[in-house]
């Protein structure tokens, strides 16, 4: 009787945990260090931090290691840990123009103030398996760095004028509606109710599951929506984290966070006398360009405030985009369901009996429905063959 009718459920849990841990340690290979994960599998830790809503690269690397590379599970570990931490302070808002960008592309213009910075990317690399990596054993620092023989003049990088500023100066950008006054909402402390404010939407999208955000953003492009944005900027870089010093009251930079930021414009012609661009925004922790861009599309789509398309319906998007929620509920189907299943069996057998369906359970005495007094008074019982939606589900 499997996973319920056995005594000592707690011992079973311990055993299952030990088997899972054994999987990680099976084989002769060296164990992976947290440093190696943080340094060489940065995309994994970035995804865990972004979806976990906690910027902590080493903790993220630990979570990735513990979850054996499952980013949603790693994000889950970070969120559960984060929820037990005290909130000491809130950081000051930071201007994205202060970003120290390692990468910046602006598809809207051929050239932009500050220039295009391709930076580290595989975008234009041919996707061929690099079998040399297979043979890479020990780090050979002398020869390994392919940028060693670059000749760089050590100029300090210029700050990059935001492309959106150019458009804003011309009055071409319709600014999103902002709920006036008050602190930004924090959906980890206040549950989302609909209609949700844009601050809540952006926070939920920023913590959304990368795959879900990408899929929903893609749906708008694919034809289930009207938003086909032009990207003003996609940037990857570091932003300073600033707080007001508790004694001096001055703003001090305490650390920095790596983020991916994306901004887009979408033409709207609603105001015929004054057509403008609508604005979409995306920001994620770490390097995750596809999530940031997809978030931008969803932000712009949701501002259309329509229920015509999935991506334009804030309630739909926010309901399905969170990885912790979807992962938990999808996987809960593994839990025992025999109580509810018995209830469904009762309904389906009852209906089959009354409809005289063939072979309605040999073990079911034909006359038993009489006990409930509703079997025989159905002279107009329809005998359609078309299967109407048989809905005895329980959705638990």
């Amino acid at each position: 009787m499997g996973y319920v009718a056995v005594k000592a459920g707690e011992e079973l849990i311990d055993r299952a945990e030990q088997l899972f841990e054994k999987q990680r340690l099976d084989g002769d290979a060296e164990t992976v260090s947290v440093e190696q994960i943080a340094g060489q599998l940065e995309r994994l830790t970035a995804q865990a931090m972004s979806e976990g809503g906690l910027y902590a690269p080493r903790l993220a690397a630990l979570a990735v290691k513990q979850s054996q590379g499952d980013t949603v599970e790693a994000a889950f570990l970070l969120r559960a840990y984060r929820s037990t931490l005290e909130r000491w302070d809130e950081t000051s808002p930071v201007d994205p123009a202060e970003m120290f960008a390692t990468r910046r592309v602006s598809p809207a213009y051929k050239d932009v103030p500050g220039g295009q910075i391709l930076g580290p990317t595989k975008d234009y690399t041919q996707r061929l398996l690099d079998f040399d990596l297979e043979a890479e054993d020990e780090r050979d620092a002398e020869t390994a760095d392919p940028t060693d023989d670059w000749n760089l003049d050590e100029e300090s990088p210029e700050s990059l004028t935001n492309v959106m500023e150019v458009l804003r100066e011309e009055g071409l950008v319709h600014e999103p509606e902002v709920t006036p006054g008050g602190e930004p909402a924090d959906t980890t402390r206040e549950p989302v109710t609909h209609p949700a404010g844009r601050d809540e939407v952006l926070q939920e999208l920023a913590r959304g599951d990368t795959g879900a955000v990408t899929a929903l953003g893609y749906s708008a492009l694919r034809g289930y929506g009207q938003v086909h944005p032009t990207l003003a900027e996609v940037r990857v870089g570091k932003l300073p984290v600033q707080i007001d010093h508790p004694y001096t009251g001055e703003s001090v930079t305490v650390t920095d966070v790596e983020v991916t930021e994306s901004e887009a414009v979408v033409p709207v012609y609603a105001k015929r006398d004054d057509p403008q661009f609508a604005f979409g925004y995306g920001l994620t922790f770490g390097r995750n360009e596809r999530k940031a861009i997809a978030m931008t599309i969803l932000d712009a789509s949701i501002q259309l405030d329509s229920e015509d398309e999935p991506a334009e319906n804030a309630e739909f998007v926010l309901d399905v985009v969170d990885g912790m929620d979807s992962f938990g509920f999808i996987e809960h189907l593994k839990l025992p369901h025999y109580v509810t299943f018995q209830s469904i069996l009762d309904r389906i057998r009852g209906i089959r009996e009354r409809k005289g369906a063939g072979g309605a359970g040999a073990e079911e005495p034909e006359s038993d429905a009489g006990a409930s007094g509703d079997e025989s008074d159905e002279p107009t019982e329809r005998d359609e063959t078309e299967p109407a939606a048989m809905e005895a589900g329980d959705d638990d």
Binding site: L59, G328, A389
Partner: protein
Amino acid sequence: MTETDTDIDPTTTTETASTDALDAALESFEDDGLDGYNYAYLDEHTKREVRRAVLKAIALPGHQVPYASRPMPLARGWGTGGIQASLSILGPEDTFKVIDQGSDESVNAANIRRLATDTAGVATTTDTTEADVVQTRHRIPEEVMTDDQILVLQVPVTDALRKVDSSDAANRRRHAHRNYGKMWVHLYENVVEWGEINIASRYPTMVAGRYLMDPSPIPRWDVPKLDHADNLFVFAAGREARIYAVPPHTEVEPLAFEDRDFQVERFPDQSCHACGSTDTYLTEVETDDGRRLYTCNDTSFCLKRRDDPELPKDHHLDRDGVDWGPGTPDIEEEAGAVAGDDGGPDADSEAGDDPDAPVAEQGGDRA
């Protein structure tokens, strides 16, 4: 917030500039157990918030109260709402029972029980009559619960109206207006199509004549136990971040029509193969040799019945004949035909929903 990096050069990578505080945070993972966590895992502010939500829910029976459901060390959908409610109301003197689909020994029940004992130091029991708080997934125990007990039900889907409209925003408006026409139409179409109301569990239930409530996926068998009970029922959803309640001695009425009664699950001619009970909720077990057995779903009560097959469900009370759902005396037997009166006339006068609209066409009255 764990990054307490003191380096003020924004170009320095965080990985190389980690500080003692971060190392200490990492070291704390090496401890066994839950040292360093607050009593009952949740911080005091969170517990207070949950208790406030529970109080508000008690004041508005059946109404869904939003609360800031915290990430728990269990996956969402696995009882995180229930455990937040339980941990918020448990104290060190309390005795805690956890059941999952009727069983104390389910691994998920064991896991939840383990979290409560590790963090809140509560005693645990499998005996319903000994527990102060019982957390349950989808069952109400067969033994009558008393006025000094609380039943915490885990809730996957918070709104009964979700069956007829996926939008919570639209459904909140319906609750505000006590507009349950769309659900009545759905039930009516069930009867037309199938001859009976075709809802298995999660049966839509009217609380105190005001709010339509999703009683969580308890079988219909358990729904009558909610009516005029002595104990408090707390329904807690973690993923959907809502808490609602049925206070003691509250009228709870499953929706039905005058000529189509509410029906519990039927077990014709079946009894528990272990204890012989015919007045308990049974589930089928398919055996290796192809036979089908029926067995009591409430394993704790089944064990007692094996010792004493005649043990009544109110054996632990100083009165008998207590009304506790199927197989117990129905105190309101003569009033049994009023099912449906609660919202029926209301539904007829409903302007918001077109009774002719097919149910499949959802969201017709979304603004």
